[in-house]
Symmetry: none
Subunit: 413 residues, 2 copies
């Protein structure tokens, strides 16, 4: 008997609350979704709290939990996963940050947090920064990301992410001085000092860089400083394959999710037309999943659109994404190798009324050979409460998948 | 947009088991309660285990959990919360006890554990005790409470609550000697020695006190000794406002609940006619809640009556309290500011058949903007099992409230 395969499809921010304009239905309840309903009918359904009951999850912490890694143990900030997401090799003990290229005036007052949403030349600016040495032998690794974004790694023994940010998150305000959250924490004090030195040196290096001279000549805001934020310490995490025995791939639209997946050793796939926006070609994502199943036991997939609808407070955008997801699920059910398990859920709710993540639980369904099918016939937040799973947590999901697949080691005799 | 408000209404000991005389209904199932049922119909319902499945909760441990403080971390005994409940300032590391004024004979045999249920003069007796110095520089802070009750704080560095009681809980028995539970625990040995010294000195100070001479002259039992019990170490707890961002008030009928609330920095409210007995004016409690909402974001309310019915094994008393609670809930729904969330539950079951707390889960309902209304149409222990919440724990309750109110910080990005 060959090992079965599994697909874990996470519809980012799918969960919602009842919306008056939809007749007090959630977008998932209101949407036409014959394929999702078929999977619910043939599968086992329930509610899932990504972290724990009532906790507002981020996408990163939720994906960690759903993949079986306790975020309270491994997560101190977004930085390491952002950096991994753009292909940087984050090592245990590194302090990694997401960064903006920004514009400051001569007094270090921020005039544009996004440096005119710069679209080219950041690779040259990054090259001028990368490899810089700071005091105390701290090594700088820097890489540009899309537009005005980048990621920074500070590498040295005995650093700490327990520091304050330099980015005031407001224009018209001066760059802030990073400090140790606890003044008695020498590692944090050293790290904060390094961040301040990095920010100051980035300005010295970038202000007269040819890319910026050219931008100024064109009337554009120069990308003359780099502001790190969201620092976290690189955790040591066993690979997903080591934890589960499953060779895994990730098909996702955002750097953050790719970063989580890369951090646990999954192969990352680029999908043509998968923009991470509402215009994304979701069917192409489905095709990529089926392709990856040829060489992998497990495929993690994240589709971003529903979350954008939630953040925008736009129920129709959510419904439109659900329709595309539904078509993709129809394709998966028909085209995945026989014996593949399909698990569909969300990483958190993003209610249109809140325009941000909430702590409301999300629907989940397990579909495939041997699952205990239940009375639930529709895939939505309230129908699944009649399902057989009851109310589970994110950290349970991969355990359920590996036990269904019969690849999990027995605990005891 | 203004921050929404929330009321957390805890009907003490409300949960019960099916009772033959009520046609195998619980008191909550048997009672007329149109307003509670309306809230269930319009809200989201479920079962709640105050501490964890099957655990018999106290009112103090349950309230701690429901407010978001893990009682396994913060609770070592009832004393600190009793002391806080009568306005004593318990500090981290203090060992606090609830106490009885009792009567002993010359051989230190207890003849009356409640000193004739003494009703006056305990303030003078307390004044004679308060401020006493014990060996090892241990400071005594003592205050009388209602009737024969009081509270004691022992203050010094390095004390421990891990000691045995001096109160044998039986009359006709000699006062016991407090001992360290673990003989190798020097802090506990020191504390036990201080308790024994305190008890002995209380007898020396009180036996010839004028208040007691007068009692003896009147043929009343003298309050000639103080017996501490329920010792616990004062925990460091962040304030509720610090944890949630919500300015909170407590409207409760008992010192213990007020003590828990005061310990986490809530404002305490006195309500005229709120006796803590079956005769309590529950509607006045409702009015006090609405008044407190004018100046607070969150109001915790505890109504005691149902618990008394349970302890007395009196289902009708429970039903009568439920009727009063129901009228109060009707008042709240009509009079709370628009947008206020209402959460109704119990701190534990007190089944009439048991006459004490049990580990049976209790009903809970969340009512307000955006909750996922479910099929549950009645508020009782068994109807709520068809609700959308499933089975949650006490520690989840405040998390759910703050995420519904959208005031909780996100964990992750």
């Amino acid at each position: 008997m060959t090992t079965p395969k599994a697909v874990l499809l996470i519809a980012d921010g799918l969960g919602d609350r009842p919306i008056k304009e939809l007749g007090n239905k959630t977008p998932l309840e209101a949407a036409e979704k014959p394929n999702l309903n078929r999977v619910a009918l043939e599968g086992e359904c329930g509610l899932m709290d990504p972290i724990a009951v009532g906790i507002r999850a981020g996408s990163d912490t939720s994906h960690l939990a759903i993949l079986g890694y306790d975020p309270y143990k491994y997560y101190t900030g977004r930085g390491p996963f952002e950096a991994a997401g753009i292909g940087m090799d984050v090592k245990k003990g590194d302090i990694a940050f997401r960064c903006n290229f920004s514009t400051v005036d001569d007094n270090m007052v921020i005039t544009d947090r996004r440096a005119g949403r710069i679209t080219s030349g950041t690779d040259q600016l990054a090259a001028a920064i990368n490899g810089m040495k700071l005091s105390n032998g701290i090594e700088v690794i820097f890489k540009e990301s899309v537009a005005h974004r980048g990621a920074l790694i500070l590498r040295a023994p005995d650093l700490s992410a327990d520091i304050t940010d330099t980015d005031p998150h407001h224009e018209g305000t001066a760059v802030m001085t990073s400090k140790a959250c606890d003044p008695n924490n020498a590692s944090a004090a050293k790290t904060a000092q390094a961040v301040n030195e990095f920010v100051r040196k980035s300005y010295e290096v970038l202000k007269d860089h040819p890319v910026n001279k050219e931008r100024i000549a064109q009337g554009l805001n120069p990308a003359n400083i780099i502001l790190p934020r969201g620092g976290g310490i690189g955790p040591h995490m066993n690979s997903f394959e080591c934890e589960t025995g499953l060779k895994a791939a990730c098909v996702a639209e955002t750097g953050l999710i790719n970063g989580v997946a890369r951090y646990v050793g999954m192969d990352i796939t680029e999908v043509p037309g998968a923009t991470g926006g509402l215009d994304s070609n979701v069917m192409n994502i489905g095709k990529a999943i089926v392709e990856q199943l040829a060489s992998h036991d497990f495929v993690l997939c994240n589709v971003k659109g529903a979350d954008l609808g939630g953040h925008d407070g736009n129920p129709q955008a959510k419904i439109d994404t659900i329709k595309k997801l539904d078509e993709m699920v129809g394709y998966l059910v028909e085209n995945m190798p026989k014996g593949t398990y399909l698990v569909i859920t969300a990483d958190h709710s993003t209610p249109c009324a809140i325009k941000d993540h909430s702590g409301d639980p999300v629907a989940i369904v397990f579909w495939g050979e041997g699952v205990r099918t239940d009375k639930c016939q529709q895939f939505d937040e309230r129908s699944v409460t009649s399902g057989g799973l009851g109310r589970i947590r994110g950290i349970d999901v991969t355990k359920i998948i590996t036990q269904l697949m019969n690849v999990q080691e027995k605990f005891g005799a």
